[in-house]
């Protein structure tokens, strides 16, 4: 059935957890494009045939006309599926730029296609330059803090880092009081967790 493969591609998006990326399905993507080529060939053949027959044989012309129409509709449909696949993934890639700063974890990077990687790089660079122009970190939490410091536990070895107010040794399992603004990016990257109570 026409458009089945393209639909599978969109289903893949739907089945992945919302906001999560799955590997770019290059194989299926190429197959859909190949199908589109087939539709174009069929469409052109039918159009040529219609021109040759001319207006004499009305019933045969109608049948060709509807054949061409079906190929045209399938093309439009395939296009919509492909566009939706790329577009919805690009939206996720954009949110990556806001949440994980410009270091992309390996397990996500390998799921992106090369143009998506490029997109991420340029998008986060644009964000960065905009924020430095404004001199405000727009990715920070919007709710004003009750206390500028929070208690965190380090989940991954980070090493000694210069923070805005101190030189801290962020060893694994260490529990520290940090400024919220310093801790935020590490928590977003999953390297720390906030402790409460």
């Amino acid at each position: 059935m026409y458009g089945r493969k393209a639909c599978q591609l969109v289903k893949e998006l739907e089945n992945s957890e919302s906001g999560q990326l799955t590997g770019f399905n290059t194989d299926l993507f190429a197959q859909v494009i190949e199908q589109c080529d087939g539709h174009v060939n069929n469409l052109q053949a039918l159009l040529r045939k219609m021109q040759e027959v001319g207006s004499e044989n009305q019933t045969a012309k109608n049948a060709d006309h509807f054949g061409a129409l079906m190929h045209h509709l399938s093309l439009v449909r395939n296009k919509r599926c492909l566009m939706a696949y790329v577009y919805n993934r690009a939206e996720i890639v954009q949110t990556l730029g806001w949440t994980v700063d410009c270091v992309l974890p390996e397990e996500i990077e390998e799921k992106l296609s090369s143009s998506e990687r490029e997109y991420f790089k340029n998008h986060s660079a644009t964000l960065k330059s905009y924020m430095s122009d404004l001199d405000i970190d727009l990715a920070l939490d919007m709710v004003p803090p009750k206390d500028p410091y929070i208690k965190v536990r380090v989940l991954e070895e980070i090493g000694t880092v210069v923070l805005s107010d101190q030189l801290a040794n962020l060893a694994r399992h260490a529990i520290l009081f940090l400024r919220r603004t310093d801790a935020e990016q590490y928590i977003a990257q999953g390297k720390m967790e906030e402790l409460t109570g």
């Binding site: 059935m1 026409y2 458009g3 639909c7 969109v10 289903k11 998006l13 739907e14 957890e17 906001g19 999560q20 990326l21 069929n42 053949a45 039918l46 045939k49 019933t59 045969a60 109608n62 049948a63 060709d64 509807f66 054949g67 061409a68 129409l69 079906m70 190929h71 509709l73 399938s74 449909r77 919509r80 599926c81 566009m83 939706a84 577009y87 919805n88 996720i92 949110t95 990556l96 949440t99 994980v100 974890p105 397990e107 996500i108 939490d141 709710v143 929070i150 989940l155 991954e156 801790a183 935020e184 928590i187 977003a188 990257q189 999953g190 967790e193 906030e194 402790l195 409460t196 109570g197």
Partner: protein, 186 residues
Amino acid sequence: MANYYDIDDILADEELVPAVFLEAVNGVGLFESNEANRIEPRSKVELPFWLAQELHLRQAVSVNIPPCFNKKTREEIGADGAHVDLRSRCSYFYELGCKIVQLIGDKTIGSLLLVAFQTRYKEVLIKAHTAASALTPKFLSLLTKEETKLYDAAKSSTAAFKTWRMGGPRFQKAAVLGRKRKPIGE
């Protein structure tokens, strides 16, 4: 028309509807068995909605009511709407209903959708706010796509209410990174 990039709208368009061809069509290999690449008038087929709709508007095919809106389903919904397995019949029950009604003008579909949604909505919210998670998988498998979304929304709002009342951590790991990954060594 809904958003061009909307995944749910695209998938709802893929649902099959029964249709009858009114015109002959050349050069189309719709079915593998058909070697002549030609569809004769009066052949009965199941077409995805996106194709059936356009062909119906050009009077090449005539679309019939899909089986998920048949008499049996209507009776079941009338009897106990909340426990009808709509997912296996059509996981885009409401969306397809809204779309198909514009084509065939069956006035009863609208009220059927309304009754089904009203009875099921109540049940979905009650389950989402109260039921223990062990109980739900069986119930969840009855829901259409839209109802599942409602269920998740209700569930997450309950969870958000709880964290607000108890005061949980404000910061969380970015959702894009996935939740399953555990720190190494545990």
